[in-house]
């Protein structure tokens, strides 16, 4: 069976009917299996499905591959907790203001976790190819660079039969599961995203399964009042979990900014001794709290309200 035939049978078997699929955060995490390739929605410090990552770390999942457009402290968490064996992305650090992540460096330089590097557009086109049901898309970057050379075997070069020009073909990236955090979603999985969309229109169409965490579950009637704000449709979604502040300490557009003080704390804790620092951080904010609310409680009301006061529709001003 060719790649496309396998894709078609697999997709045909998915339950695509209009039905309710609301689950708890823990039940959502239980849908992800050891060894899965998990694509993380959002970008950098924005709309990261952090609560779901918290649940995955607590569930002790193993040998996961993660992919994301750009990875911030979410990447540090998945390598330091040992749930990730590989991260596929275009950029991996906590954030420009904190310098190069010592956590990323420690786990990657020691060979414990692999960091596979693509260009940002290449990541986008790999997801888009999968979303389009295509085996690849052509790209005009990557050529001549060591980024392409180091990926040898993953890409192909072709001569365009129309123009004679050289093009690189980047292969479709088809995650086992996409995990995406959104502002609003109905119980069927119709998801609405405000502001920056990143790769979260292609990602859910690319993946074999999709799990959504949402700041609020709204009724299907509310979705149907503004269908042009729905960014991906119910039938690609397997489960929906309502998790307020589910992206903390990263931001969720219109609702809260990054929790900068908490991000400073994470950077500071992991700077000197990334191994001990992450262990302490994970203990305090991942293993000990028994619920996501308890994580937020530990991050603290001051940080939460500061982030929330910075989070607003910046277009209204």
């Amino acid at each position: 069976m060719s790649g496309y035939e396998a894709l078609r049978s697999e997709t045909a078997l998915r339950n695509r009917s209009l039905h309710e699929k609301v689950v708890s955060l823990e039940a959502a995490a239980a849908l992800i299996n050891d060894g899965d390739h998990v694509a993380i929605g959002g970008c950098m410090m924005s709309r990261t499905p952090m609560a779901l990552l918290w649940a995955l770390v607590r569930a002790g999942r193993r040998d996961l591959t993660f992919s994301r457009s750009i990875v911030s402290s979410d990447g540090d968490i998945v390598v330091a907790s040992g749930i990730a064996k590989k991260v596929i992305t275009s950029w991996f650090s906590q954030g420009i203001v904190w310098g190069i992540s010592r956590v990323m460096r420690h786990w990657v330089e020691s060979g414990t976790a692999e960091f596979e590097e693509w260009s940002h557009l290449a990541m986008g086109l790999r997801y888009r190819a999968a979303a389009m049901g295509l085996p690849f898309l052509p790209i005009r970057s990557l050529m001549g660079s060591d980024v392409e050379r180091r990926l040898s075997g993953e890409t192909r070069e072709m001569v365009c039969p129309f123009t004679g020009e050289k093009l690189v073909l980047v292969p479709a990236l088809r995650p086992d599961v996409a995990i995406i955090h959104v502002q609003r979603c109905d119980p069927y999985g119709n998801a609405q995203i405000d502001g920056l969309q990143f790769m979260d229109i292609d990602l859910p169409m690319a993946a074999k399964r999709v799990i959504v965490t949402t700041e609020r579950i709204i009724s299907n009637n509310q979705i149907r009042r503004s269908p042009d704000r729905t960014k991906f449709p119910f039938f690609v979604v397997e489960a929906v979990a309502e998790v307020p502040y589910g992206s903390a300490p990263h931001e969720c557009y219109g609702l809260y900014e990054p929790f900068f003080r908490h991000m400073d704390l994470f950077a500071k804790m992991t700077k000197e001794d990334p191994e001990r620092g992450s262990r302490d951080y994970l203990q305090r904010f991942f293993y000990e709290p028994r619920s996501w609310n308890e994580v937020l409680q530990r991050i603290g009301m001051d940080d939460l309200l500061t982030a929330a006061s910075g989070g607003r529709n910046v277009h209204d001003e």
Binding site: C43, M44, M45, S46, S69, I70, T89, S90, W91, F92, S93, G95, I96, V97, I100, S101, M104, R105, V108, E109, F115, E117, W118, S119, H120, L121, A122, G124, L125, Y127, R140, S141, L142, M143, G144, S145, D146, V147, R150, E165, K166, L167, V168, G195, L196, Q197, F198, M199, D200, I201, D202, E251, Y253, G254, E257, P258, G311, V314, H315, E317
Partner: protein
């Protein structure tokens, strides 16, 4: 604060880089800018000599409005979208580079070499790196698909004969090698450092000094560069930062997040 300058005025390295970079931008251009020096340079240019300049952010933002003192932490958070003309998916904003709508992109890097190739991926052997750097991000795409302004500190360990890893392609091995590799547009245009402005010979694509900052000698530049530099003829001297440029810049970043 790392201050240099004349008796009456002084500026930091970042301020100098930002002001020189802002001068390299022209009215009506579309600029792909990261946060920090690039964004400040673009905003400064808008306010001083290029009111019709448009900024693009990698997170998917077209023509945002930057509020002094409320600078975004990266190109991917809500502060970036403030009063933008349009927001769109990341893949589509990057595609503007490939489609040819972007005039110039900004890059920095850990290392740059004689042909303008940039390394932001590895220090040391990529299989056993001394330092794993954050990687390409959109750098490879910007460098492959449009003209590039590089702004970075002039240090011998950064200006090397050959980068250890080509994350973002410059002129590769020089001459026509960039074109032969299939990169049919763009390429590095100007490298702005705290010592000089550097460009490339149109034929050999070797890096050369185009202009020196006030008070800097060719020997100063050579002493901080890990390979032989060609010299443009004539060799210009840049005008020092003006009071207006410095004041405006400091208004944009009052907390000195990026210009300290």
């Amino acid at each position: 604060m790392n201050e240099v300058g004349s008796a009456t005025r002084s500026w930091t390295t970042s301020e100098l880089l930002t002001i020189m970079a802002s001068r390299a931008l022209h009215d009506g251009q579309i600029v792909f800018a990261g946060v920090g020096v690039p964004l400040l340079a673009a905003t400064l240019a808008q306010r001083l000599h290029a009111p019709g300049l448009t900024i693009l952010f990698e997170g998917g933002v077209i023509g945002p409005f930057i509020v002094p003192g409320d600078l975004p932490p990266s190109t991917n958070e809500q502060r970036c979208t403030r009063r933008a003309n349009m927001v769109c998916p990341i893949t589509d904003v990057l595609m503007l580079l490939q489609r040819g709508f972007v005039d110039v992109g900004f890059l920095g890097g850990a290392e740059i070499d004689r042909y303008g190739n940039i390394n932001t991926s590895f220090i040391g052997d990529p299989d056993h790196p001394k330092t794993r750097l954050p990687g390409s991000g959109g750098g490879n795409d910007i460098a492959s698909l449009t003209h590039v302004i590089v702004a970075m500190k002039h240090e011998k360990r950064r200006f090397v004969e050959r980068v250890q890893f080509v994350t973002s392609p410059g002129y590769l091995e020089g001459g026509a090698s960039r074109h032969e590799a299939g990169l049919l547009a763009g390429g590095p245009e100007v490298i702005i450092t705290d010592l000089a402005e550097l460009g490339f010979d149109p034929v050999t694509k070797r890096m050369r000094i185009e202009a020196l900052h006030p008070g800097v000698s060719v020997e100063d530049v050579e002493a901080n560069t890990g390979f032989d530099l060609d010299l443009a003829d004539p060799l210009r001297v840049t005008a020092p930062p003006t009071d207006r440029e410095l004041e405006m810049l400091r208004e944009l970043d009052p907390d000195r997040l990026y210009i300290a």
